[in-house]
Amino acid sequence: MSVNLFDSKGVSLDKQRMTWKDMVQPPISKLDDEAFTRVRIILTNGLEVEALRFQHLCARMNKDLQVPLAKVRRVEQHQQTTINWLISSDHSPLETTIAYEQVAVEVTAAVAQTEPDPYLAQVYRFGLLEDFDHLYRYSALLDRLEGKDANNILQSHTDIIPGRPTIDEHRAPENDLREHYDRATADTISKLHATTIMAAEYQTHDYYANIGPTYADPVARQLYAEIASIEEQHVTQYESIIDPSETWLEKWLIHEATEVYNYYSCVEQETNPRIKAIWERFLDYELGHFAYVSELFKQYERRDPAEIISQTLPDPMPFESNRDFVRQTLNQEVDMRTSGTQFVDKAQEDQASLDYRQHVNSGGSPSESVAEGYQWMPGTELNRKVA
């Protein structure tokens, strides 16, 4: 199935109504559902939260758009609830964290491989190795705090080994900014990628910022504090690759297209029929939003939406293990650092980052402490120590 954005009108906004029963459906099974079903849930939840965040900011700056924004936002809110409530209550916050990092690794790796702009692909590979390391640190915490095996969540799709060490990821703010794509010349897929990954990282930041203090253990509290800080850096990075000269309505249209693209990708690959029905419903909703915003775009900007988004959606985002690509990236780019917006070797890293890092780590490093001597083993490291 290919989706033509401008011909598929989806469900009109006035017919997008939901009940509390629609929103609160039986959750997935932590044990029996496919890990990539959970990946899709977390990813689309991030997109819905980003939709709300963006549309609120847009409303603060555009009086004329406040009513249309409020109408679309009401639906996005209920879509977000429906999706996020699919995570079952037997996921501990730390198990959900492992799933968030699996999203970051596998979706960023997929994006990095299909991104046509070489510089942007490099940006994604750079961020990928950092989230990959977070997965390793949180897996050590899950093992040593809760006595659980992170692979129960990962289902053997994603490796648990060190990436670019989290202790080295702390950079001066000016070294987290990147060059942005050009709104006039960038491929549609580049725009969709950027919004997708920014949304995923933003929700990861917010999740860690909220659940960090729910832990009693001081090491867990410190680790969440440390990695939340990196996720904030990642939001800074991914936000900066988006052309800031895009108009508010242009950005809104790209947001809606991004949601369409991701639900389309979910529909194409979902293995759980009950969840697939939700993706299909929300794909139709998002097509409705896209059509609605397209009309606003024409009305206010007197431009054709096809100037900024291609008519046919790109191939779906592949939701699959990227083990070989991640390992290759790890072997080739683990020592990459930044200087301003450019990627450099470790030896050329900007001094401001070194100074900042030296200070922030001077009271100890939670990411190093938690993973001291840690090597993942099936069934937890106690399998090795006891044997």
Partner: protein, 243 residues
């Protein structure tokens, strides 16, 4: 509606589900060294540092105005640490109050699932009623000490954190009656030990009337524990085809 535990190919959590991929993970874990050496003791070292600096979770509220009867009771405790008794009473009160809610959830699950013998809904309803009575009994005991029975004590707070998983399991529509029975047993074991301690505490502190009342409650709790434990065992054995 949920069914007894079954075996299927759907469970995806273990390494046997994807042997080839799992082997790649194992090989990678062995090939890539940890970024820091050590045996994980840094985690406990950091914990120790925080333990040394930590403040307690909270304090026991000072009684407001001590009226005649309370003054007389407090005088009986001269030389003893009344705050320990108040803390433990507060803990039991909170546990019984939540315990009543646990029974509400469990009864509803059993009724919805049309539970049969050995489980008895009537017996469960009696236990629920007794939990609520025990809550009032402890509230009265606190009031005789001049303590505020609506105040949350540190023991109540910590105990609620410890048992929060029990409520999560019972209120989850997906959990079976057998799984619910296991967490009910968990709660009743702790509850029984709590009442046993309260009887001893009241007795040793010279509060004979209170100790007698608590002994009656303990006797009822003994029955709760015995029944729940038996049901749990029988249901599991039955499901396993052992009886």
């Amino acid at each position: 509606m949920n069914q007894p535990v079954e075996m299927s190919m759907r469970n995806r959590t273990g390494i046997d589900r994807s042997p080839a991929d799992s082997q790649k993970m194992i090989d990678a874990a062995n090939a890539y060294m940890p970024s820091s050496k050590g045996n994980g003791s840094a985690l406990m070292d950091m914990e120790s540092g925080y333990i040394q600096e930590a403040e307690p979770v909270g304090t026991v509220a000072i009684p407001g105005t001590l009226k005649g009867a309370a003054q007389a009771t407090i005088q009986m405790l001269a030389g003893r640490n009344a705050e320990v008794l108040v803390d433990k009473l507060g803990e039991r009160l909170a546990f019984e109050r939540t315990g009543t809610r646990l029974y509400d959830y469990f009864i509803n699950k059993c009724e919805t699932m049309h539970c049969e013998a050995p489980i008895s809904i009537d017996t469960l309803k009696r236990f629920r009623h007794e939990e609520a009575q025990h809550f009032r009994l402890v509230a009265n005991a606190l009031e005789t000490l001049g303590a505020d029975s609506t105040s949350q004590t540190p023991g109540a707070d910590v105990s609620a954190v410890a048992s929060s998983g029990v409520l999560q399991v019972l209120s989850d529509p997906r959990t079976s009656v057998d799984q619910s029975l296991e967490v009910m047993l968990n709660a009743e074991l702790v509850d029984n030990a709590g009442w046993d301690l309260l009887v001893k505490l009241a007795d040793e502190m010279g509060l004979e009337d209170m100790a007698k009342d608590f002994q009656v409650a303990l006797n009822e709790e003994d029955e709760h524990l015995m029944e729940i434990r038996q049901w749990y065992e029988q249901c599991t054995l039955k499901q396993a085809g052992a009886i």
